[in-house]
């Protein structure tokens, strides 16, 4: 048998009493608590997410890629070495090797 209680002729509550217990302000507070925080809403991720994406793309576009940096660096070395009256071809080759060994994990590139 289900645990159901049966009340016969329970004293009723008056309309005035029920009205006195109305509290719409509390209901609205509860509703506001249920609303998701701004950072987890689509409205936040739309404009903010788009802005972050644009900034990230801009930074990436402004900063030259690694191989460009290496080329530039090697280029500078070339210039320095070319000033000296030495066998430039060999020196440049060795300079590239030294550059990679000291500053990057790349190995064996020439």
């Amino acid at each position: 048998m289900k645990k159901i209680k049966i009340n016969i002729d329970r004293e009723g509550l008056g309309s005035d009493y029920i009205k006195s217990r109305q509290d719409f302000g509390q209901v609205l507070n509860e509703v506001n608590k249920l609303k998701p925080p701004i950072w987890s809403s689509a409205w936040f991720y739309g404009p903010i997410g788009f802005s972050v994406f644009i900034v990230a793309v801009s930074i990436t576009a402004l900063e030259p890629p690694l191989d460009m940096k290496v080329k530039n660096a090697v280029g500078k070395m070339d210039c320095m070495l070319l000033i000296k009256p030495v066998n430039s071809e060999n020196r440049i080759y060795r300079a590239k090797t030294i550059f990679f060994d000291k500053n990057t994990t790349l190995k064996g590139e020439s």
Partner: protein, 192 residues
Amino acid sequence: MRVNPVYHQTSDKLQQELDWITNAKRDSECFGPLYKKYHEQIFRYVYQRMDDQELAFDVTSQVFVKAISNLHKYEYRGVPFSSWLYRIAKSELYQAFRDRKARKTINVESMHLFEMIEELEEEDSSENKIRLMKSLRLLKTNDLQIIELRFFERRSYREIGNVLEITENNAKVKAFRALERLKNLVMNKQTS
């Protein structure tokens, strides 16, 4: 059987209600008139099925919190807004029975018991009343729900249909079948 007239509304009132709903969809604070209008009805529906008055007030508040939070999903179907609120109330009640260990209660007036015994074509005696109460406990949830709505709360079949999301005719059929099953249970109690 006299039916509770609160539910039925004129088209003007329905239109006014629809305006309130449209405004409330834009701004929750505009839900105020709907809250004032339906708070008592929903509280009485909840308290009818509960023993604890404070819990009934809590559940009623939750019904309105859910209603405001989900108002964007509401679609007007030409019936009073209360049908939608009753459906939320039903779901909140079951949640309270499950999560807050609230006790399911049937609140009935002696007059309603007398009328039910008449419907069941039984003699009005204290023995039959006890049998009827025991049988009510044995009814399936859906049958008990329709018996409560129709015989203890005196709701029209149209309203029952809207609350239970069935047609008016289906509500009539279901009420008739529930009453038949209750009758069988009472008869079995009589013979056992």
